[in-house]
């Protein structure tokens, strides 16, 4: 760090750091939300991991304009498929294998609960934008509760 150039680099970064601290600081509400996220930690359920997201995994050439988004989450005992129409606040879902179960849509401010029919089909309206996770409380003998990874709709 002896050359003049290196000193300039550090000075430039320092000035950027000061500017970012004033102009693009981490909002307090974001910190509070991050802290509150800890209360969603759960230990009693299988985690259904996101294995397919049409937004990322599908090249929809010519399909721009707001088609439904498909998401698939897999846990050892259950697969949870979701279809979301952007901006609608509606989620249409399918449990595989088909089960009638309580299905809870969790979001940072609370949750919405519906029941899937015997074909494993469910529908939820009024889901707020932002991150959600779907929790499936299966009553089946073998089925454990499972919940999906969090994802922003």
């Amino acid at each position: 760090m002896s050359s003049d150039g290196a000193v300039d680099y550090d000075e430039l970064l320092s000035r950027l750091k000061v500017l970012a601290a004033a102009l693009d600081r981490l909002p307090r509400g974001v910190v509070e939300a991050a802290r509150a996220s800890f209360s969603w930690k759960s230990i009693d359920a299988e985690l259904a991991e996101l294995v397919y997201d049409s937004v990322v995994d599908e090249e929809l050439v010519g399909a721009r304009g707001g088609g439904a988004r498909q998401l698939t989450f897999e846990a050892p005992d259950v697969t949870i498929e979701l279809e979301v129409t952007p901006g609608s606040g509606r989620i249409i879902g399918q449990l595989v294998p088909p089960t009638d179960a309580d299905v809870e849509i969790r979001h940072p401010e609370g949750s919405l609960t519906v029941r899937s029919d015997r074909l494993g089909h469910f529908r939820v309206d009024g889901v707020p934008p932002g991150p959600i996770s779907v929790r499936c409380l299966s009553g089946g003998a073998a089925g454990r509760a499972a919940h999906t990874d969090w994802v922003v709709l």
Binding site: A20, L23, R35, S42, D53
Partner: protein, 200 residues
């Protein structure tokens, strides 16, 4: 190393201990992780060009994911890299989603500003011409330089391992890349400002 703006190594054992404590349910340890890595996650999302509202969603999603995974991490000492990578993937997902959607009006939905009682950014610094030129040049950067520099001005500074993980580049190349990006920034800000951002 250790000069301002240069990442210093994270104390990996401290971070591991925080992860273990959080996994066993200690909110204080969780809060310490938020203090340590919250700015890095914000920088990842903002560096990729997300709006504040989208960056807020990415940040929250990243922490919610950690809440689910905190007891399952294979390398607890690398939780910073895990968080940064998760945030990057979520930010890229957000960008792809936005690219294929028509505007939904969510940006102006009151629910998007979930009670963030935030004072407006302090623009007084920009009354200084050199600052204004530098910030304008930084804002106008795109691609890898914007992302890299945005990480390198995070406070507390991320480790080179974290920067390396999220950018998927070898740690040894970070210093030279940083200097090339700063050269580029200096040239751009000299063009932006009447006297140049580095004018004495």
């Amino acid at each position: 190393m250790g000069a301002s703006g240069v990442p210093t190594p994270t104390d990996a054992s401290d971070v591991s201990a925080l992860v273990r404590a959080a996994a066993s349910g200690e909110q204080d340890a969780w809060d310490a992780l938020v203090d340590r890595f919250g700015e890095l996650i914000w920088a990842v999302a903002r560096g990729l060009g997300l709006s504040q509202a989208d960056a807020a969603d990415v940040s929250q999603t990243t922490w919610l994911r950690l809440a689910e995974h905190v007891g399952r991490l294979r390398e607890p000492d690398r939780v910073g890299a895990w968080l940064a990578t998760t945030a990057r993937n979520e930010a890229l997902r957000t960008l792809k989603r936005a690219a294929r959607q028509v505007p939904t009006g969510w940006e102006v939905d009151p629910a998007r500003n979930r009670g963030y009682d935030e004072p407006p950014p302090d623009h007084r610094l920009l009354e200084d011409e050199r600052n204004a030129a530098l910030w304008q040049a930084f804002d106008g950067l795109s691609g890898p330089c914007k992302v890299l520099l945005r990480y390198l001005i995070v406070e507390p500074p991320p480790s080179y391992a974290e920067v390396s993980a999220v950018l998927d580049i070898p740690t040894g190349t970070i210093g030279p890349r940083r200097n090339r990006c700063l050269d580029h920034l200096r040239r751009s800000s000299a063009v932006c400002g009447p006297q140049g951002a580095l004018a004495p």
